[in-house]
Structures are given as C-alpha cells and as structure tokens.
C-alpha cells in the first residue's frame, strides 16, 4: 500500500533531501537572519511533521527496502524502513517539530553569518540522524554516524571563542570517535569473513556464542559511549550545556536515542542469540548510570548541566529496560520481553519530549535573563508565565508523576521488574527486585532534582534585581514549547494507543506483541499483562482529581466565601528578610551531598566563625574523571613522550629510520 504515489521510505528520503537543501541554502543569507528564521526553520518544522506522519504510517507496515546508487562504485547505500526504524523516525519527527518551531524564534538575535552556518549544521544533523535510522548496511550506517558526530561537534562549538567550549567539543569528539571505533569493530565481527557489509548478510550469518558476545560487548561499548552510559559519560555534561539550547534539546532528545537504536538493532536484529548475562550487565550499567546521573544532577548549580546529568539518568533507565528485555528474551519469555521493550521504547520517546521541552525552557530563560546559574534566578513565574507553565508540564513529566508520560513508562518498567520471579535463575530472581528498588530511588530522587530546578528558577523571589525586566518567550518559542508539552500530556493520557502502535516493533524484535493484552479493557484502561495483574487509567486519574478540585473550589465558595487579602510574607514573623535568604542551588543540593558523600569528589572552602569576610565555596567533581580518565590521559602522554624520543627534526636521521625500516622489512619478507 502506498500514500498516493510514494512509499513511506520515499517520503523519508525526500524529507532528508529537503533538509539537506535547506541546510545548503542557509549560508547564502549572510546579510539578515530573516530568511533562516522566517522561512528555513518553519519549513524544516513542516518536514519534521511530515516525518512524524510517515513514521506513524510506516509503523504499521511491513519492512520496505531501497537501494541508493550513491556512495563508492559497486558499494551502493542500502536502506530499509522497518517498524523499529519507523518508531525512531516518529521520535525524531515529533520532537524536532517542536524544536524547529522554537528555533524560528530563538535564533532571531544571532549574527546572520553565524546563523547561516549553524542552520547548515543543524539540518545536516537532522538528516544524518534520519539516515542512521534508515541505514541497512554498515557502510552507510558509519557514514551517517560520522556525519552526525561531526555536525553535532560543530554545533556544540558554535561559540568557539570560549576556551571551555572548545575543550568540551574536543572531549566530545574524542569520545565519539572512540565509540565509533567500537561500533566499527562490532560490524567487523558481525560480518565475519563472508558476504558483504549489508545488514542482510549479517542477519543471515550465524555467530558462535563467543563471537556473538564479543560483538555485543563492542556494541555496548560503542553505543554506550554515544548514549552517555557510565563510565563513558564524561563528555555529556560538558557538551550539552555548551551548545545553544535547541541544539542541546536535539542532542539530548534525539541523538542519545540513536545509540539506543543501534544497540537494539545489533542485539535483537543482527545477532541471533542473546545470553542472559548480557542483560544483567546492561541492567547493572544502566542502574549505575541512573543513580550516578541523578545524584550529580542534584548538586549542580547550572541549569543546563543539571539537565545534562539528568539525561544520563534517563539513559540509565532506558538501558535498564534494554537489559531486562535481553534477560527475558534470553529465557524465551516473549510476553515479558515485549513488556520490557515497550517500556524502554516508551521511555525513550517520553524523554525526547520532556527533556526537549526543558532544554528549550532553559533557552528562553537564558535569553530573557542572560543567566544560566541557578543561584542568580528566581521568581520567573511572574515575568514569564508561558515558559513557567509549559516547563511545569515538563518538570512533572520528568519527575515521573501521574498522569503525565514519564510515569507511564516507569510504571511499565516496574511491572516488568515485578514479573522477574518467573525467570528460571534463583540468584537473578533475588537480585532483580532489589534493582527495582534502586530504580525507584533514582526516579524519586529525580523528583527532588526537579523541585530544585523549578523551584529555584521559576518560584520564589528574584535573586537579582535585573530579573524584574525579564520578558516572556516570543510566539514561535511558545509554539515549540507548547507542542512538546502537548506531547507529554497526550503520551501520558493515552498509553494504550502508544502500546498498540509499538506492537509491530516488539513483534519484529522479540516476536511478541502487547496490543492484545494491553487493550483488553479498551483504550481507557492500560492492562499490560492482564487486568487482574495490574491496570492504570490516566484519564480517569486526571478526571477524578480535576473533578474533586473543581467541586471543592465551588463548595468552599458556596458554603464560605472567597475573600482574600494580600500582605507581606509571614515567615515566622522574621522582619528583615530578603531574596538572598532563599535556598540557593548549593543549599538545596546539600542533603544529597551529605548523604551520598562517597559518590562525590568535593572540595569545600568553609569560613571560620571569626572571618571578617566569610566566603563559602563548594565544588563537586566526578570521581571517574580522576580515577579513570586522568590516568589514561597521563599514559597516552607518556607513550607519546616516548615516541617523541625518536623525533629530532633532522632530515638525515629520518632517512636513516626509513633505511632501517626497509632493511627490517626485507629481512621478514625475504
């Protein structure tokens, strides 16, 4: 079946070509920003909308393939659009629609020349991610993967005049390439010695358990580096805050998910077997990432760094889901694997929406106040009501609160955890529910982090006088934020439709769907396994709470009164209070620093009781950096130092080296 003339895959290719054209045209508008903000970005948003529609359509279709006669001679690009690709295209389209709309407003104050280049990189980035989801051979996959890494590197270093941003970009590029090396080797192992580098021939090949394990571990390493999995996460909190906010939203919302896509593709599509301990390993690393991310998020003082650490947490939760899926699938428990996979994909989709929303919200705050430091914000709900209300939706969704979307995916994941007692492995049985406890700890701490984030930025009194002049976001920005907020609400209220849409994906990866059992009670009640086992109805939930709220409000007015008087805050009668007496970001993170002290490397400067000018400072550093990265960096420097010994800069010595090498080679080749 086709939409009029075109197959969905053709439409996706047209969208990619359209994005590339938009990107290539943008640098020509170097006199004014108008063409890019007024035409290119809205057109790009339309293309995202089309991608969303094409993806939704393709979700219900059997896989399609195409061959593009591009690339090297005799090595064309193979493309394939199956339900898994379609799902990730939906994620990309849905999230980038809002982000591009927002960009149309956000970039209006940029220098025209800089914006033209940025728009080129932005659209290359979008197109390369869509290509990754379509790639059906290792060659195109790696080309698109590198294109994504490079375009995002240039986006991160948009403000390359700042030294820290250049350093962040370098770290990002380095780890991206170490990861890419892992992926390349993984494809090498999968390819073995036979056939070509198409995914089709990899699917056809069978691996011994040993080589399958090698391939899986390489994939986990390579994709984990891109996803920000522990201990390969160090680039993430540096690179995300460095980029302009819409780019952070794209990177966190969509780019991290390309790694999840790759991991799922290799594990469930290209490999034939799964071994249970792969799942346990992924689950463990996921839990570590989740806990690490959320604890570090709690002690941050920069809005965007806080969100970046929270991305590590969410990627951790997604990896926990991947681990559970592998575990269940390795034991041939189809329905449970489908449940865990659905929860994983659902969370990936949710994260794209709420994290995108919050990154864009910080962008608006940054534009309105010029401030990213939580300690200098406050009270913005009065000055920026639109951004405040829409961000509240994102905050509640990310804190995993019903009836929004973050809750649904965490709920599904906990249901999957509760079904592990049927795993035929006594030790795992005991460990897995405790892992569920750790997951709950991570998501409950996320609520702490978000109360801190929202409370300090938007509530309370302005901590700086100039915040009084902050202005609300423009209409384009509001439209982008509103779209993502709407996504959070709809994905939260109608989970059954999402599960039904995911049916084909789980069918194709773990040969089992959830649609039949999940919708057994109609769209109103979500019943993932059976109604007696568990059910949840967000619409009902919201309905009852709203009804009670309205009835209570009316009853209070009817039986009593609505009289109201405004006065100064009471605060236990303390007379001399000012805005600086509110909790700072450091203060709000203090309990976490104290309770989880061993997790942080802290340097504190405490004033004594007799200081004339007391000064308090605390800085929190990542132990991984000192324990893992710094030794590797030192080792690399020492090795390069050794190589430096033979480097003199004298031509006759170099000729001698060449001569010696030649002799040595002759000795062996002879």
């Amino acid at each position: 079946m086709s939409i009029a003339l075109f197959q969905p895959i053709d439409i996706v290719l047209i969208i990619i070509a359209f994005w590339l054209t938009l990107g290539l045209l943008s640098p020509f508008s170097h006199r004014s920003v108008g063409p890019v903000t007024r035409w290119v970005m809205p057109a790009s948003a339309l293309a995202s909308g089309a991608l969303l529609a094409a993806g939704l359509f393709a979700l219900a279709q059997p896989p399609e393939t195409a061959i593009l006669p591009l690339g090297l001679p005799g090595l064309p690009f193979h493309l394939r659009l199956d339900p898994l690709s379609a799902f990730f295209l939906v994620l990309e389209g849905g999230s980038s629609f809002g982000i591009s709309l927002y960009s149309a407003g956000y970039f209006q104050q940029m220098k025209p020349r800089q914006l033209g280049i940025l728009s080129l990189e932005y659209h290359l980035f979008l197109a390369s991610m869509a290509l990754i989801f379509l790639a059906d051979d290792a060659y195109l996959f790696m080309v698109a993967w590198e294109l994504m890494a490079l375009s995002s590197y240039f986006l991160v270093t948009t403000d390359h005049e700042v030294g820290e941003i250049r350093a962040a970009g370098y770290l990002y590029l380095l780890i991206a390439h170490i990861g890419a090396l892992g992926i390349l080797l993984c494809f090498g192992v999968l390819h073995g010695t036979h056939g070509d580098y198409t995914f089709d021939s990899m699917r056809a090949a069978t691996q011994t358990p040993f080589w399958a394990t090698v391939a899986f571990l390489l994939a986990l390493f390579g994709f984990g580096a891109k996803a920000g999995m522990l201990p390969l996460h160090v680039w993430l909190p540096e690179a995300h805050p460095a980029a302009p906010s819409p780019v952070s939203a794209l990177m966190s919302g969509i780019m991290l998910k390309t790694a999840i896509y790759g991991l799922l593709r290799v594990t469930f599509d290209l490999l034939h077997i799964q071994i249970w301990w792969w799942g346990a390993l992924t689950l463990g690393l996921g839990l570590l990432s989740a806990l690490f991310g959320v604890l570090f998020a709690a002690v941050q003082t920069d809005m965007k760094r806080l969100l970046a650490y929270s991305s590590i947490e969410n990627i951790g939760i997604i990896l926990v889901g991947v681990g559970l899926t592998i575990l269940f699938h390795a034991y041939d428990m189809g329905l449970l694997a489908a449940l865990a996979l659905a929860a994983t994909l659902y969370h990936a989709l949710n994260h794209a929406f709420f994290k995108g929303l919050l990154f864009l919200g910080t962008g608006s705050v940054l534009h309105a106040t010029g401030e990213r430091n939580l300690g200098r914000l406050g009270g913005l709900i009065h000055r920026m009501p639109w951004v405040a209300v829409l961000s509240l939706v994102g905050v509640l969704a990310m804190a995993g609160l019903p009836p929004l979307n973050g809750f649904v995916s965490e709920w599904l994941m906990l249901q999957a955890f509760l079904l592990t007692p049927s795993v035929p492995h006594a030790y795992l049985n005991m460990m897995v529910p405790i892992a569920a406890g750790a997951l709950v700890l991570a998501s409950a701490t996320a609520a702490y982090v978000l109360v801190k984030f929202y409370g300090i930025v938007f509530l309370g009194q302005p901590r700086e006088p100039r915040l009084e002049h902050a202005h609300d976001a423009g209409w384009w920005e509001r439209a982008g934020l509103a779209w993502l907020a709407l996504g959070c609400i709809l994905l939260g209220l109608f989970p059954v439709f999402v599960i039904i849409a995911l049916d084909n994906v789980t069918q194709s990866l773990v040969a089992q769907g959830l649609a039949a059992s999940a919708s057994a009670h109609g769209w109103f009640f979500l019943t993932p396994v059976s109604p007696a086992r568990a059910s949840y109805s967000p619409v009902f939930f919201l309905g009852v709470v709203l009804l009670v709220v309205v009835l209570t409000f009316l009853a209070v007015r009817r039986f009593y009164h609505g009289r109201l008087r405004r006065d100064a805050p009471w605060d236990c009668g303390f007379p001399a209070q000012n805005a600086r007496m509110q909790d700072t970001a450091e203060g709000f993170g203090q309990p976490i620093r104290q309770i989880f002290e061993p997790a942080f490397k802290m340097t504190r400067q405490l004033p004594s009781a007799f200081d004339e000018h007391p000064h308090y400072a605390v800085s929190v550093a990542d132990r991984f950096w000192y324990a893992l990265y710094a030794p590797i960096a030192r080792l690399a420097e020492r090795i390069s130092g050794l190589i430096g010994l033979i480097q003199h800069g004298r031509i006759h010595l170099y000729l001698l080296y060449s001569f010696g090498t030649l002799l040595l080679l002759l000795f062996f080749v002879r």
Binding site: G378, H382, L392, A399, G400, L401, P402, W411, L418, N429, P433, A436, G437, A438, V440, L441, A444, T445, A447, Y448, L450, V451, K452, G455, L459, G460, Q461, F525, A532, R533, A534, S535, Y536, S537, F540, F541, V544, V545, L546, L547, V548, V549, V556, Y560, R563, L564, R565, R566, D567, A568, P569, W570, D571, C572, F574, M581, Q582, D583, P591, I595
Partner: protein, 316 residues
C-alpha cells in the same frame, strides 16, 4: 450486585472517609494528650479548627503565584483519589482499576511535589527549607514503600490493591512471614511520610526542626484548612493501606453485602486500637535529627528487602 450499587458504594466510601478523617486525627491527638498526662481538646477539635479557618479571610503574600493558590485544592483532590482506591470496607471498588499500588505511590508523590513547589513559591527562608527536607524524606521513603508493596505484589501476583487484599485476606488470622518484615517497614514509612515523630513533629513550630509545618507557614484560612484536611486524609489513607495489607481480616469480599456490617465494626475497632497505638509510639520515641532520617528510612528499606528475600527463600 449491579454496577450502579458498586459505584454508589464507592462514592459512599470516599465521602465517608473524607468526612471522618479529621475525627480519627482527633482521636489520635486525644490519646496522645492522655498518654502525656494531658486532658486533650476532645476528638472533635480538628473540625472546630477547620470550621474556624474556613470562616476567616485568606491572607496571601504579595508575590504568591496562582500555583500557590491552586496547590491546596490539588492536594485535596489527590488525597481524595487515594482514599477512593484503597479497599477499606470491601474489595469491590469500581474505581480501583484506575490506579494500582504504584500509581497510588504516584498520587502521593504528585501531591508532595505540588506542596514542595508551593512552599518555595513565596520565597521565604523557611519555605524552601521545608521543601528541601520534605523532598529528602520522600525520596528516601519512596523506595522503602515500594519494597513493601512489591512484597505484597509478589505474593498475590498483582499490583492491583483489591486483588492484593483479596489474596492476603484469604489466609485467616495468619500472615505471610515476609509480610511481618514489611509491616515494620511500612509503619516506619507511615511515620516519615505523615510528618510524625521521630522524623517530624506535627505539634512543633520550632523553626529549626520543622518539615511539614515549615512548608505551610505562609498558608492561612481556607487554604490552610484544606491542607490540614488533606493531611488528615493522608494519615487515614496510609493507615487504611496498612490495615488492608497487614490486618485484612474481616474485609467484605466482592459482592458480599451481608458482610458489610461486620466489616464496618471490625474497621472501627482496628482504627481505634491503631490510633491509640500510633499515639503511644509517638509518646515513647523522640524526634531524631534530620540527618538521622536517612538511617531510619534506610532501615525501613532494608526491612522491606528482607521481607522480599523471605518470599524468594521460602516462597511466601
């Protein structure tokens, strides 16, 4: 039984619980007064306080936002929903499929996050202090609470509260060994989540130690009344969950309307005894420092885990 009578019963339960929650709080306070050699204001005191508060004019800080005004109503709505889905008298609740135990934890979390945000809204020193402490206690208590619920779910193969209670009540006057550990853990979580001693003291207004009271300092009149009412409702709902999980005997099974009078009498008895016990517990223990709270809740979590390990070791 028709569907209509079920819904009528559901409405009766939720309205009844909402109306009686302050009475039970009064009962607990009265017992505490007696145990501490006081006379006590009588069990009806919470109603009198709320009546007075509703009649007063509300005073709002100059910079209070709409979020601040909406929070008491949202809090009340969340607690109403929680009270409606816990099987208190009978396991036959038409509203119950809307939310299982995990969603129930979610309702409490939603209410708590709004409360903490409202506390930070005016921007006073005590408000943000209270919000921070409340969220601290909450993120430590939530895993422990879910361990308790997971243990019950593992035994009953369900996270739906009505099914759990149905399975647990089936065993006459005996309790699953793992549930004994969970019971202790649950009591500890109940104390922490409802701002009772030893984590918080509902009777204190000593600035440096308060948690819940610090958050509601800026509220007055009808807003304060609704918050107090919601707190009473939360305490009663938590106790009802405890009764449903650990003392479920006598609850009316689905469709058995003849069992209701007995169920009601037993419930009243259980609540009377538990209220006195709660007051006794509070009288006997002292409030701990805020940074001892993680140890307290860590113990609760470990007890919950032990209960669950019990399930895996002996299968019950």
């Amino acid at each position: 039984m028709t569907h209509t009578t079920g819904i009528l019963f559901q409405l009766a339960q939720s309205v009844g619980v909402v109306l009686l929650a302050p009475l039970w709080l009064g009962w607990v306070n009265q017992w505490r007064a007696w145990l501490q050699n006081g006379t006590g204001p009588g069990v009806l005191q919470p109603y009198r306080t709320m009546g007075k508060l509703f009649a007063k004019d509300a005073v709002l800080a100059h910079n209070a936002s709409p979020l601040f005004r909406a929070t008491p109503y949202i809090l009340f709505g969340c607690m109403w929903l929680a009270a409606a889905i816990v099987p208190i008298l009978a396991t036959d609740l038409p509203f119950a499929p809307a939310a299982d135990v995990i969603a129930l934890v979610g309702v409490f979390a939603l209410a708590r996050v709004f409360m903490a945000l409202a506390a930070m809204d005016v921007g006073t020193a005590f408000g943000s202090l209270g919000a921070r402490r409340e969220m601290l206690v909450a993120f430590l208590a939530e895993p422990a609470l879910l361990m308790v619920f997971f243990n019950a779910s593992l035994i009953s193969h369900s996270t739906s509260l009505t099914t759990i209670v149905g399975v647990l009540a089936h065993r006459q006057f005996a309790i699953y060994p793992g549930m004994a550990f969970s019971g202790v853990a649950f009591v500890m979580v109940l104390l922490a989540e409802n701002a009772r001693i030893p984590v918080d003291n509902p009777a204190t207004h000593l600035e440096l130690t308060m948690i819940h009271e610090a958050m509601i300092l800026e509220y007055s009149a009808r807003h304060l009344a609704l918050i107090e009412w919601a707190s009473a409702l939360k305490l009663l709902t938590y106790t009802a969950i405890g009764i449903a999980l650990f003392l479920p005997w006598g609850i009316a099974p689905a469709g058995d309307w003849g069992a209701l009078p007995l169920s009601l009498a037993l419930l009243a008895l259980k609540l009377c005894v538990l209220g006195a016990a709660l007051a006794g517990l509070e009288t006997l223990s002292a409030k701990v420092r805020i940074f001892r709270a993680p140890e307290f809740l860590g113990t609760a979590f470990l007890l919950g885990v032990l209960g669950m390990l019990n399930y895996f070791l002996i299968g019950a």
